[in-house]
Symmetry: C2
Subunit: 322 residues, 2 copies
């Protein structure tokens, strides 16, 4: 089958072996898949992953275990973490923290940049008819954005700042906007900020030299992916407030955590989130993800798609396997 | 009056001017005052404080505003943060986060290592008769330890590790022991660990080469005051767990926060806490702080007291102004 591999370099193959579903797994024909910044990190060596990349997808179930034959032919998206099913985390429904988990296209499991993938049937969610394929591809990153309000209590009176107007920052600002709180997205790209502004999010273009007010936000979400984003977040958060770390910065840097103690700031690490809530937000048209799409490329143009995804002005790039 | 000053060096004076209470403030004759690690940090330049040091005390009210004459002659302890009374933090009862606050013996306000001090009457708490002066001195640090369960929900089923068997670590372990959770104190000093063990806290002497199990604790409290304490805490906390930072490490160090995101760990900065709960714990004999006292020194021996406080094996050193 056609597949986009990372094996030390980005490799595009037409002859990659078809995956074979294990017990309780479905075989899914991928319709569309989105390129995420994590894919770029993988190409920089993140977790040492080699195999089919990709973890944001929508597809059609082509094979399923006997007891879930009802899934065949259905359009689905899938949660990316596959737990062992027996450890203390899996028993609590926290497969994403299972110490022996595999993760689609990220760790120990071939991913979604291919004609077919396999996932446990328990990871799959049906996609309502009114959600297009290109919108459905956003389920995984939108779920990650909704994880913030899953983890912490956002009050309608909170003042929230999202740092970074990339895909993740945009989705976080839109997801947090649903809470009724005052949300500001700060970034350097007027065209990206405008996407949020069109959906009732306040924005600040810091490339103009304007600065966010220090100690003014109850909650600051770090979504820049830059090492200095956290230090900046510490300066902008109110005493007693919360910083949410959404981006994994692989490099270490010099920092001092004393301000967290002095100002009793809480720091929350935040990763994968609730698919059902993300699908609901798309189905009910509460968030419009379509303006975040910068381009849709056919598989034959995959290399061009990856080049485009690296460009500073790009947002979501989708690969069309149909 | 007699006072212990930091003016670039530790200075002991007999002729320091008496403090004059401002509006709504009481004049308090100090009975006893405890030396805290923060005093050592001040002598290393923390916050650039110059003046009378000391913030852990018990004393007798000698002067009070007209409307609180009832306080005169009463034995009191006092909260150390004095807010402006009008900002958004003060209006919420969060004087400790008031941007223009003064803090007893730490910032903008002479402290407790003197015969007399002043504090707003609203900062004072009466000391029940069954609490001795030397026990009452622990109200402030015990309140800081109780701040942990004030900030986060500790469940009886939680497994908690406190790193560091100094005064702060000991008090944190004893305060957390009240919750019914499984609490382990890890440190390097058998004599200090024994104090916690005698009050039903599990202990681990890491100087023997034994290590705490990785990813095994729902909550890890960093109370070592060492720069590498936080990195260690990240290794020991369960995915989805919480790290509480109790000690301010003034120096910056190289660190990588990516594990917080990947394992969705929450980091909570924790400082001053509830005096009423600390007084109740002492009054009801739920925590015995007396074994934490390493020595009580008269004012004339203050310099010796400070030398003793610096020694590795020392715990609480108290200065007796009676």
């Amino acid at each position: 089958m056609k597949a986009i591999i990372f094996d030390g370099a980005l490799t595009i193959r037409e002859d990659y072996p078809l995956p074979e579903p294990k017990e309780k797994e479905a075989l899914i024909r991928v319709t569309m898949a989105g390129i995420c910044n994590t894919d770029r990190e993988i190409m920089n060596g993140y977790l040492g992953f080699h195999g089919v990349m990709g973890h944001e997808f929508v597809g059609i179930v082509e094979g399923a275990p006997e007891e879930r034959r009802d899934l065949i032919g259905k359009r689905v998206v899938g949660e990316i973490n596959c737990g062992c099913g027996t450890c203390e985390y899996c028993r609590k429904g926290l497969e994403k923290h299972c110490p022996s988990r595999t993760t689609l296209g990220i760790q120990g499991r071939d991913g979604a940049f291919a004609e077919f993938l396999t996932l446990p049937v328990s990871n799959l969610h049906l996609v309502p008819d009114n959600i297009s394929d290109e919108e459905a591809v956003f389920t995984e990153p939108l779920a990650a954005a909704l994880e913030i309000s899953e983890q912490i209590h956002i009050k309608p009176t909170d003042s929230i700042l999202v740092l970074g107007d990339g895909k993740l920052g945009l989705l976080c600002s839109l997801a947090l906007g649903l809470t009724g709180a005052r949300v500001t997205l700060a970034g350097k790209h007027e065209t990206k900020l405008k996407i949020a502004r069109n959906q009732h999010i306040d924005t600040l273009d810091v490339s103009t030299g304007k600065q966010n007010e220090e100690k003014a936000y109850d909650i600051v979400v770090e979504a820049t992916g830059r090492a200095d984003g956290f230090e900046k977040a510490m300066k902008l958060t109110k005493p007693g407030g919360t910083i949410v770390l959404k981006s994994t910065v692989a490099s270490s840097s010099e920092m001092n955590l004393a301000p967290l103690v002095i100002h009793e700031i809480t720091l929350v690490g935040s990763r994968c989130g609730p698919f059902d809530a993300a699908i609901r937000a798309l189905e009910k048209r509460r968030i419009d993800v379509r303006p975040i799409i910068s381009g849709i490329y056919k598989f034959k143009d995959a290399r061009e798609a990856f080049d485009r995804a690296q460009a500073k002005e790009s947002l979501k790039i989708i690969i069309d396997f149909r």
